[in-house]
Point group: C2
Chain length 334, copies 2
DNA sequence: ATGAAAGCGCTAACAT
DNA sequence: ATGTTAGCGCTTTCAT
């Protein structure tokens, strides 16, 4: 920077001013400085800027697992929003992590990022404690409701499940199974509640045998589907709380010679890109993943900029996307 | 840090010494400083450290798309290696990127990271130019051979394809199709060459109609498979250059009522986790994704530490993993 | 073994 | 409109 000042025959402050686009710089000088910057190929040192500004313009992202279209869409949304404010993204994966979990968070809090976005289904309370104590800006992504002390963004899980099951009900299905993620997850619990509510609205008794609990880390959708198929009064429709699981179900049904939707109706959840490339194209719930990522950044930035904002939960709407994986049952058969 | 020095009644230099674990600090003083740090919850400011050290201890990772198990495994490997040296990972996605591509790289080069790992099938030369001019440490991941001026890590693509096709040949298959990624990719070209070589070694004529070119960004495996099935002399085996494509092929075959491996043998590539969860479990080529990530970091670190090392290409070995998606043809039928 | 002081590259008062 | 200067929080000679 001193070099640029020399070449342009001005002071470093002036250089700094044009670097940061401030006013009160005569066009002549501005031009001269810009030229000098070009000639010297000058680019401001970020570390120094960060140091003096007290901000890193980096946000941390903690995910438990990469490699799903689900997380990919969220990250795309985060990136998009970050681009607007010229911030960078630091990635932390908790999967196969040898580091003590807390050290992890502590590093972020005291270190390199201005805030942290967490896309971790089951956030450990000790993480939150650390961040809370340090009043470190953070937001929890895709949880069902505010935990009271953190910002969070999620979706209307209850309504989504209610809509999906109601749609199936309108198609005259009466035996409707649900393959859900772990029920400890608040989102799963809400979806199951929505499922029950829809059934109840139609005066249909709830059958616990029709709910199968999967695990997103160790998917067992195939086994669960086969359990369903073996039932004497097997379901005519399956509602799955992720497209990934739905696709595994499709595979399994086909393996058993069943056709979709003729022999079994199927609804997924998330509306990942692949949902439209499988055959038949999957009827599913659109999960605003990309928007969730964007909202997370917005919420985080709000905290970083003015640290006195009280926790809030942002709830995004879902939408039933009807494609070809469901079919009406004839009222007679029903 | 000054606070710690005050509380411990020593100078800041001494505090710095214990923070960095230097010798020449009496045990008494060391203990006193450590206690002061604990009491005050002191954690060194990374920006300041980085500024004075002239290193950020952050490495950039540029990927074109997240959301595949392929990239996920690589990133896991990178993370693992980074953990050892206590560096952080900055993520750049080129997908849906509004930023001018060069600005992108330029930012990284002049900015925040000490080096860059690129997992981008088709690296633009202009990126490389920028990094080369700045002699910025970088490594290209999963390309087939050195480009002469960058470090890179890849696998033995030719051999891998040769092995896969030879296996099929030994199983008496004679009409063997290949569904490959874009042939502009050096890796794809090598694999196709390996395919041809294996055929030739068995004295089998090469049939261009049996090679179908897919696109990893816009997968068309289903359509391509159907083209293959419609052929009057349809293949009895398909070799696919990614497991993802292989799984789409499986789906398609099943849709057409064909059984694997009875009606069609199938070999994938990559050995992603899902390859073992589909039915039948996929015979495939093990692609050392995780190791590739680790090697990339090692190569990068070597460059960062001593910047005068000349470009090198690290080639990792693959391995045929035999599972249940292939079956021997009776010699008669063959 | 410990301390004093210079300086990493920049920004932002404060002067002029 | 432009220049001077004091830090930002740390590391690292150089003294002692």
């Amino acid at each position: 920077m001193a070099d640029v000042a020399n070449v342009a025959e001005v002071s470093v402050s002036t250089v700094s001013r044009v670097v940061n686009g401030y006013e009160h710089v005569s066009p002549t000088v501005r031009a001269k400085v810009k030229e000098a910057m070009d000639v010297l190929g000058f680019v401001p040192n970020r570390q120094a800027q960060q140091l003096v500004r007290g901000r890193s313009e980096v946000v941390g992202l903690m995910v438990d697992t990469l490699g799903t279209e689900y997380i990919s869409e969220i990250i795309n949304g985060i990136n998009e929003a970050l681009l607007d404010v010229d911030n960078d993204l630091l990635l932390y994966t908790t999967q196969r992590q040898r580091m003590k979990a807390d050290t992890y968070v502590r590093r972020i809090v005291n270190g390199i990022a201005d805030g942290l976005i967490m896309v971790v289904p089951q956030v450990s309370e000790s993480y939150l404690d650390i961040m809370y104590e340090a009043s470190f800006p953070h937001v929890l992504v895709d949880i069902d409701a505010s935990n009271g002390r953190s910002w969070s963004v999620g979706i209307t899980n209850w309504q989504a499940a209610f809509d999906a099951v109601t749609y199936l009900l309108e198609l005259n299905h009466r035996r409707i199974a649900i393959i859900t993620d772990q029920l400890e997850l608040s989102t799963s619990a809400s979806r199951l509640a929505g499922y029950k509510a829809a059934l109840e609205a139609y005066g249909i008794a709830y059958d616990p045998d029709l709910v199968k609990e999967d695990n997103y880390l160790f998917p067992a959708a195939r086994k669960l589907t086969e359990q369903l198929l073996r039932m004497p009064d097997a379901p005519s429709a399956i509602f799955t709380t992720s497209d990934l699981a739905a696709i595994r179900v499709m595979e399994t049904l086909r393996l058993h010679g069943l056709q979709i939707p003729r022999d079994m109706s199927l609804i997924g959840f998330d509306d990942i890109p692949t949902a439209t490339t499988v055959y038949p194209r999957l009827t599913t719930i659109r999960h605003p993943l990309f928007e969730m990522g964007q909202e997370a950044v917005a919420a985080l930035l709000r905290q970083i900029e003015s640290s006195d904002i009280s926790p809030n939960h942002i709830q995004l709407e879902t939408e039933l996307v009807i494609r070809e994986s469901c079919m009406a049952l004839s009222p007679l058969k029903a």
